[in-house]
């Protein structure tokens, strides 16, 4: 819906286009080159991870699974080649085992893809849980003030005092055996305080605004003010934090699995793969390289998306203009 321009603008030969807030944000985001690249990269990783070996009952296009062992081909070296023949390489091809095989002959591409799937699922659940709990807690604390606020804020104080790795490690140790979903929900339940504080800060300043007072004056209920009037104004902060929370959750999950308290075997995740094969570093470096590369690719692309979103919602420090 573009309303074209006022008469004086048209008279000077300029067209002024009115845009909604959402359109401006979208425009700024799509002009952020790094964020776009990040989005395509992340989309590609998700597509690759879920379509290659399939998910649940749906089969994928890759013919090997992460469970079947096979005979070692060429000591399990990766067959992936990206150097074209005219540059003296072997040509561009995937080969039988593009990422190589592990010591019992499992196709490492399938294994890495399975790990990537699990890591992405864990990261998203963690981010969704942490964001919802953090938003709710921050909203209530910021809107109701008084006892609600001091209770929630003391709670975040306690949780921030405990380094996240410790509490997540204890949670992972307690619930790690019961599957990744429960593990992810538990990690989400302990990583919300930072976002909660952020949302509370936004609410503290917004609740004093005139439109909130007007809503209160006509007798709007508290829940309606919170969810219909104030919350939509904090959506920028929340979306940016949620995006960055996904990236942090990928790293946290892999660190936990690396310490042996995250995702438990026989299930795999990227961090757990690195932990399993870390002694193979000298003899079979590819067992170590691929999961790491995927962790970095996922975290980096999400971080770029988050940066683009931040610039789109809060364009004060950037040159990108809508």
């Amino acid at each position: 819906m573009t309303i074209s321009a006022s008469a004086s603008g048209a008279a000077q030969g300029m067209t002024v286009v009115a845009r909604t807030q959402g359109q401006m944000v979208r425009r700024r985001f799509f002009r952020h080159r790094a964020a776009l690249i990040g989005m395509f990269a992340f989309g590609f990783v998700i597509l690759l991870a879920f379509s290659s070996i399939g998910f649940g009952p749906i089969p994928g296009w890759w013919d090997k699974t992460y469970l079947t062992t096979g005979s070692l081909v060429n000591q399990g070296r990766p067959t992936l080649s990206v150097v074209p023949e005219f540059l003296g390489g072997e040509g561009i091809h995937l080969g039988e085992h593009p990422f190589g095989q592990d010591n019992i002959g499992i196709d490492y591409f399938a294994l890495t893809m399975r790990g990537a799937q699990q890591s992405i699922i864990v990261a998203f659940i963690v981010a969704i849980v942490a964001t919802s709990v953090g938003t709710l807690a921050g909203a209530f604390a910021g809107y109701f003030r008084k006892k609600t606020e001091s209770f929630i804020m003391r709670l975040t104080d306690v949780m921030i005092t405990i380094p996240i790795l410790i509490i997540a490690a204890i949670v992972g140790r307690t619930f790690g055996d019961s599957g990744i979903v429960i593990l992810a929900i538990c990690i989400g339940l302990v990583t919300w305080p930072m976002l909660g504080r952020l949302v509370r800060g936004e609410f503290l300043s917004l609740r004093e605004k005139e439109f909130v007072e007007a809503a209160r004056a006509v007798g709007t209920s508290a829940s309606r003010i919170i969810f219909r009037h104030v919350l939509p104004n904090t959506v920028g902060v929340i979306i940016v934090s949620a995006t960055l929370a996904v990236a942090n959750a990928v790293l946290l999950e892999s660190a936990l699995s690396f310490l042996g308290v995250g995702v438990q075997p026989p299930d795999v995740s990227l961090g757990q793969l690195i932990d399993t094969y870390r002694s193979a570093m000298t003899t079979r470096p590819w067992l170590f390289w691929w999961p790491g590369v995927f962790i970095i690719a996922i975290a980096l692309s999400i971080n770029f998306i988050g940066d683009g979103l931040r610039d789109a919602f809060d364009p004060r420090q950037t040159r990108v203009r809508a």
């Binding site: 306690v158 405990i162 790795l165 690396f258 690195i274 970095i296």
Partner: protein
């Protein structure tokens, strides 16, 4: 102010108390503390199980065990682990190892991160800025443990192999020189000609230095030497005076130069003392340096006495640091022989049963600290760079900076006096927050590098469902985090009067 601090202390105490309750409860229900003994057959297993139940009071409910532990804590007793070892003793050993690691990493990350962040803010939208931003994003996204294992493989093992015959191949020299040239060109301001000159000069100087180091076999028997020391100390003096007071004022410059000169001279005169000193002597020398430099600044400073004193003291301390590094490097060759030519080590916080003089012992800890702190620094470095950059950018756009420029102050004064000081206020808060993540990172790093530190105490305690060591870890890390947060708040209130007075 005092009421503020007291209130903070009281809330912090209760926050810590609540946190201990949560952790104790979670650790106690995190598994079966007798799991390893259940496998043992017959009477022996039962006897040991009964022993452990007795020792850990497993027949009591969790809250009673917690109260037991808490009363012990207030009497200064941290309890025993499941095998009956005193946790207090275990903590003492672990603490020094981890403190070294965490402190080294934090200090390095703050200094380097803030410097890079400020330069990148002052050169906003230059290629240097884009490069730093990209590097910071990559660092944000690196899994710490992966980096640590990589460093272990490629830096430690390969570097030690390379030290047998420390010659730099010509291609490597060319590549490094080009990279250095690019960095200089990116920092330089001006048109294409200035950038080209910066690129050429940077690349050429780097190439010459690297070739010299390679040909003379410097890496096998390093050291700064008297001439190098004089150049570096003099450069520090000039650079610092440029930043603190500007070169047009002679007093502070002379004071800093005198401090540098005196330092270099004393490094020769004091050779017998420096041959095998103790830490007490080193601290004594540092104290003497500060006193002498204050006197120098006071005497030579003229009108700009205060700046002169600051400049002279900083120059003196940096010169002292350079002398310290020089001595360390000089004993590198003998140390390398003592550890059979593998000076960069990958396991533990020190070579077992190592006996050497002061310099060799310190070199030993430095060699062990190098890789773990590098891994930790890489992670927090990105945070500091990004935050100091954005904080500096925000300050540079404020009205008082425009006023300072408008009244004709030189750019140096605007940046160091008006923008820098205010821009660094948010960094104090960041340091407190980052400290928590560095401790978390230390757990991972200790795991990779096999340090017997606090992280090991914590992870083994957790695996064995043994609350005492886990709580000991938390008492230290939690208290440190609370204290750091409180200090940050107080420093913040001190630096920013708006908070104190409101």
């Amino acid at each position: 102010m005092i009421a503020f601090i007291v209130r903070r202390l009281v809330t912090s105490f209760f926050v810590l108390l609540a946190a201990t309750m949560v952790i104790f409860g979670l650790t106690s229900i995190a598994g079966d503390p007798l799991a390893d003994l259940r496998e043992l057959p017959g009477a022996d297993g039962e006897r040991r199980m009964a022993d452990r139940i007795e020792r850990m009071h497993l027949d009591d409910p969790v809250w009673l065990r917690y109260l037991n532990w808490l009363t012990g804590l207030f009497r200064g007793y941290l309890g025993v682990n499941r095998d009956g070892q005193d946790v207090g003793v275990m903590l003492g050993d672990a603490l020094s190892a981890t403190l070294q690691l965490v402190l080294a990493a934090t200090v390095l990350a703050v200094v380097i991160g803030v410097c890079v962040g400020i330069i990148s803010a002052l050169r906003q939208y230059s290629s240097f800025d884009y490069g730093v931003t990209l590097a910071a994003f990559v660092c944000f996204s690196l899994p710490l443990f992966w980096v640590a294992v990589m460093l272990k493989q490629y830096i430690a093992i390969s570097f030690n192999d390379w030290l047998r015959d420390p010659a730099i191949p010509p291609t490597v020299i060319v590549v490094l020189a080009l990279i250095a040239g690019l960095i200089w060109a990116a920092i330089a301001i001006g048109d294409r000609k200035v950038k080209l000159i910066a690129f050429g000069a940077g690349a050429a100087i780097t190439a010459v230095i690297l070739t010299l180091l390679s040909v003379t076999g410097w890496f096998a028997d390093p050291g700064i030497g008297l001439i190098g020391l004089a150049i570096l100390a003099g450069g520090t003096a000039v650079g610092l005076s440029m930043l603190i007071s500007g070169l047009q004022y002679r007093g502070p410059l002379y004071a800093a130069l005198a401090a540098a000169g005196l330092g270099v001279l004393l490094s020769e005169i004091l050779t017998p003392v420096l041959a095998d000193p103790s830490w007490a002597e080193i601290f004594g020398l540092a104290l003497a340096t500060v006193i002498i430099c204050i006197a120098l600044g006071y005497g030579l400073g003229g009108l700009l006495r205060q700046q002169a004193i600051t400049g002279a003291v900083l120059t003196g301390l940096i010169t002292g640091g350079l002398i310290f590094v020089d001595r360390l490097l000089q004993s590198f060759a003998s140390y390398s022989d003592m550890v059979r030519g593998r000076p960069i080590s990958t396991i533990g916080a020190g070579t077992p049963n190592f006996k050497g003089d002061f310099w060799q012992t310190n070199l030993d800890s430095a060699g062990h600290l190098l890789l773990p702190s590098m891994a930790l620094v890489l992670i927090s470095l990105a945070t500091y760079t990004r935050y100091s950059r954005s904080s500096m950018l925000e300050v540079m756009n404020l009205d008082y900076v425009r006023t300072a420029r408008a009244k004709g102050l030189p750019e140096r004064t605007v940046i160091t006096k008006h923008a820098f000081r205010n821009g660094m206020i948010p960094i104090t808060t960041l340091m407190a927050v980052d400290f928590a993540s560095v401790i978390g990172g230390a757990v991972v790093t200790e795991n990779v590098f096999g340090w017997q530190g606090m992280g090991t105490l914590f992870t083994t305690g957790l695996q064995q469902v043994d609350p005492a060591p886990v709580m000991a870890f938390f008492i230290v890390s939690g208290t440190a985090i609370v204290v750091f947060n409180m200090l940050a708040d107080i420093v913040y209130a001190y630096l920013d009067p708006r908070i104190r007075l409101s």
